[in-house]
């Protein structure tokens, strides 16, 4: 579509909320203080399984300033939800360590904390099993895995062809529990007034929060307002309503005052979800020329006893490589652990770590360039479904990356580049992430003064949604982006889906585009000045955005890493990271670049520093705060570059965009792991590659 508008789609314009964020004016969920606001502090279970035998609140109730201690006996009753993780303080059962057992409410934060610390809890414990083993007793095949994917897909004769393959890899990889740890902890400010509930929440979607609050408190949705104006990151952990928002609303109902509740950093990991650990068995069979004859990816993972969530880590094997013989399957064990959930690129991130490590192993076994091996196995259509790809430029990403990274000069021998105590190496891995999209509504109003106001309950978790939606609107209206204002972040606006699954911009943008096109038509047809209230058009993409596509739609990418490995200490340092993506049309290069880089940085953490651990004795996540769980810091992160190729795809949405929020983490860990192998000649198959592991394995290198 022709547009003379500058500053529209494709321009690197500055994010609109930037000024507020750098000057401290942007408000997050617990930074609203309604008059009379009081504070809540949560008491959580210290045992892995059992029930609360008795709760002694006498001392807590004597703390000056305390207003109440909510317990399963005194807390408001909630109507049933389908999500057992939200049924908090409803009975005395303790399904896992960290489960809420009481909530202290007081005039001040200090008093609430002191009161919470004074609650005496006695437990009756039951035997528990919290650690995922290689072959867990009771593991079962789930009906489906996250994302609604089938739990198992089989084509041809994968086992038979593997057995007969002249070259083969049979390897196990392990990814530990990982924690989302957005910088803003989960918290909410809730208040009731005249039978209406208002909540400031930190969530990736205010509409789902409203729906759940209306359900559990048995209110019509119109009586619930949820505001998520600024959200301090989510990475999946704020993707659906989490218990803190229910607890804040319960406390406010109970004490009849506005209540603020923020979870502590340690409480987060046990209450808002984590990436479940995954055990992968990968079997690849190939002809001597590199043609894959069998691909078998079997995943074992855990879920909690109260809710099934199965990390779909074998799913990328259904998308990536050609071949008529394949098995991709999942098994899950329900353990006495906190409930896992989404973390950036669920399924793809751990699954592609395993698959892309195995592909690298196969390349080594074949003595073939790993880029060449991938290129040879490039499929003509999606292997699993047989559907044509709407666009697929993986090979172009690999080639472009190779050029930028200087891959041609690479000496493929492993463990031969030494300088002092340091060995250096380089690695590559592919990335993929599906194109997801959901229906949304939006309105746009043209005002007589020339301003266009777009209204949609989108959420900005850091992607720059206000900005990119203004660009989309500007293009559809044929005006400059400065003539568009976007209002987002509250349930007072037209209903919109969450910011998750890398689908936010596509879903919201589609509705914004439709509304703006219809407004543009009406403006074109009429003459004379606009009425004082302006002219409004709306859109609802139900039936279009969610229509079944005859195409397989995915974004692809290539990651390249250079590492140094210190043979004295076992420390791995990433020196360079490069990502090249084919993700449709890039709507705002400035904010898109930040998302790609951010994903790669999280992938660096997954590769080298991030590893959750379950304590077998207590069922607790050990060292789960930011001291015990090392998310990458400045010093860990070298030059990181993101590039993309121009990709036109008419089968996506009116903008031609694919999601970009998650693909950056996919494949990064494999690229780093493959680089460590190239540096040392040793293959590590268990993340993270911490110095203890590398040093122990690398003794012979010194």
């Amino acid at each position: 579509m022709a547009s003379q508008a500058h500053n529209a789609v494709g321009s690197p314009i500055e994010r609109r909320e930037g000024g507020a964020k750098v000057s401290g004016g942007a408000l997050y969920a617990t930074e609203y203080t309604p008059p009379g606001c009081v504070y809540a502090w949560l008491v959580t279970a210290t045992v892995p399984k059992g029930r609360v035998a008795s709760l002694d609140t006498a001392a807590a109730l004597k703390v000056p300033g305390v207003l109440a201690v909510l317990t399963p006996d005194s807390a408001p009753r909630l109507a049933d939800t389908d999500d057992a993780t939200l049924a908090v303080l409803q009975n005395s059962e303790v399904p896992h360590h960290g489960w809420p057992v009481a909530l202290a409410v007081a005039e001040t934060l200090e008093a609430a904390r002191a009161a919470a610390g004074s609650v005496g809890v006695a437990y009756e414990t039951e035997p528990h099993e919290s650690v995922l083993t290689e072959d867990p007793p009771g593991a079962y095949t789930p009906d489906e895995v996250n994302g609604g994917h089938p739990t198992e897909r089989r084509r041809g004769d994968p086992e038979g062809r593997f057995a007969a393959a002249p070259v083969k890899i049979d390897a196990r990889y392990r990814v530990p529990p990982l924690y989302n740890h957005p910088m803003e902890p989960h918290g909410a400010t809730a208040s009731w007034r005249d039978g209406r509930l208002t909540v400031y929440d930190t969530s990736q979607g205010a509409d789902p929060v409203r729906a759940v609050l209306a359900q559990v408190f048995e209110l019509p949705e119109e009586r619930v307002t949820v505001v998520c104006e600024h959200v301090g990151g989510g990475f999946g952990s704020k993707g659906t309503p989490r218990p803190h928002v229910v607890l804040a609303a319960m406390a406010s109902l109970h004490v009849r005052r506005p209540v603020k509740l923020a979870l502590t950093r340690r409480q987060l990991t046990e209450l808002v979800g984590h990436r479940a650990p995954t055990d992968h068995r990968l079997r690849l069979g190939a002809e001597p020329d590199g043609t894959l004859t069998s691909l078998i990816h079997e995943v074992t993972t855990h879920t909690s006893r109260i809710k099934e969530f199965v990390e779909q880590a074998a799913v990328p094997g259904r998308v990536m490589y050609a071949g008529a013989n394949s098995l991709t399957a999942h098994r899950v064990a329900a353990l006495d652990v906190p409930t896992p959930s989404w973390m950036r690129a669920p399924g793809e991130a751990p699954g592609m770590y395993a698959l892309e490590s195995a592909v690298d192993e196969l390349a080594c076994a074949l003595a073939m360039d790993p880029i060449e091996l991938r290129t040879r196995n490039e499929p003509d259509e999606e292997p699993d479904s047989g559907r044509p790809f709407s666009s697929r430029h993986l090979v172009e990403c690999l080639r472009e990356g190779a050029k930028r990274f200087g891959w041609a000069e690479r000496d493929h021998r492993a463990g031969v580049r030494r300088s002092g105590a340091w060995l250096t190496g380089t690695g590559v891995a592919a990335a993929t992430y599906p194109v997801l999209v959901s229906p949304s509504r939006a309105t746009v109003t043209a005002h007589p003064d020339g301003l266009h106001v777009v209204r949609i309950n989108a959420t900005d978790i850091g992607t720059g949604a206000r900005t990119v939606l203004a660009q989309i609107a500007a293009e559809a209206l044929g005006v400059g982006a400065e003539a568009v204002r976007t209002e987002i972040g509250t349930t007072g606006l037209p209903k919109a889906p969450l910011a998750g699954g890398s689908s936010g911009t596509a879903s919201w943008g589609w509705a914004v585009h439709e509304a703006c096109r219809s407004l543009a038509r009406r403006l074109h047809e009429r003459s004379g000045p606009l009425p004082p209230e302006g002219l409004t058009a709306s859109a609802d993409t139900r039936g279009t955005a969610d229509a079944e596509s005859p195409y397989a739609r995915h974004a692809f990418g290539a990651h390249f890493a250079e590492v140094g490995v210190d043979t004295d200490t076992g420390e791995v340092r990433v020196r360079r990271l490069l990502g090249v993506y084919a993700a449709g049309r890039i709507l705002n290069p400035r904010t898109a670049g930040s998302q790609f880089i951010g994903g790669m940085v999280m992938g660096l953490g997954m590769a080298l520093t991030e590893g959750g651990r379950v304590d077998p004795a207590s069922g607790a996540f050990l060292g789960s705060d930011l001291a015990g769980y090392h998310v990458p810091a400045h010093a860990d992160v070298p030059e990181v570059e993101a590039h993309w190729i121009d990709e036109e795809d008419a089968h996506l949405n009116p903008m031609g965009s694919k999601g970009i929020g998650e693909i950056g983490i996919v494949g990064t860990a494999a690229a780093i792991g493959n680089a460590v192998h190239h540096a040392t000649g040793i293959r590590f198959r268990e993340l993270p590659l911490t110095p203890d592991q590398v040093h122990a394995a690398g003794r012979g290198l010194v």
Binding site: G24, G25, T108, M183, G232, R265, G462, P632, V640
Partner: protein, 205 residues
């Protein structure tokens, strides 16, 4: 009880700060609250504080200065970084009662600190230019930390990666490695690090 006014009482507040332990003289033994007087972004505040209150909670919950963020409350993330008497500190680790007489600058006061007419500190401008954040939750801490860090480097304070040959007291040249090392107390889960380092380099250049 908060009083907030443009004050010129900085000198007397400074005197109280150096009063001998146990601090403000009007707190009787066994008291759980004390009166503190401190300046925040140039404004004087005299307030009764609970002895358990951190400087961060005083700022956020009592003085409505929510620009300083709480990421961990344990000194692990740097989101709460502010400048106290010109030095960067984790405000979640300081008790407010011990800050009597302190001169505090938060992200809301950075622009004034730069002493320019513009409404942004040059580093804030550089963060915008470089898109050095996404969700923005670590950003106030990154900014205050970087401002404090630039001063430390100017004063010649070495870091773990400073060449030991460099003479003490002379300004440290801030390479990318130096910047990364010195800002490592400020976590960013959005992974904006490469852009943050570029923004810091912009204001040095």
């Amino acid at each position: 009880m908060d009083s907030s006014e443009e004050s010129h009482a900085g000198a007397s507040a400074q005197a109280v700060r150096h009063a001998p332990w146990p601090g403000p003289a009007d707190s009787p033994a066994g008291a759980t609250e004390s009166r503190v007087a401190l300046r925040v972004n140039g404004f004087s505040h005299t307030t009764e504080v609970d002895h358990r209150t951190t400087l961060l909670d005083l700022l956020r919950e009592r003085l409505a200065l929510t620009g300083s963020k709480k990421g961990c409350d344990h000194g692990q993330c740097g989101a709460c970084t502010v400048l106290v008497d010109g030095r960067r500190v984790n405000s979640c680790l300081l008790l407010a009662v011990a800050q009597d007489g302190a001169e505090v600058v938060t992200v809301e006061g950075l622009a004034d600190l730069a002493g320019e007419d513009g409404d942004l500190h040059p580093l804030q401008r550089a963060f915008l230019d470089r898109d050095a954040f996404q969700c923005g939750y670590c950003t106030p801490g990154q900014l205050c930390s970087a401002v404090g860090m630039l001063e430390e480097a100017r004063a010649g304070a070495p870091s773990a990666v400073t060449d030991p040959q460099q003479g003490l007291g002379s300004a440290v040249r801030l390479t990318g490695e130096e910047i990364r090392e010195r800002l490592s107390g400020n976590l960013c889960r959005c992974g904006a690090y490469p852009h943050i380092v570029e923004a810091v380099r912009d204001v040095i250049a």
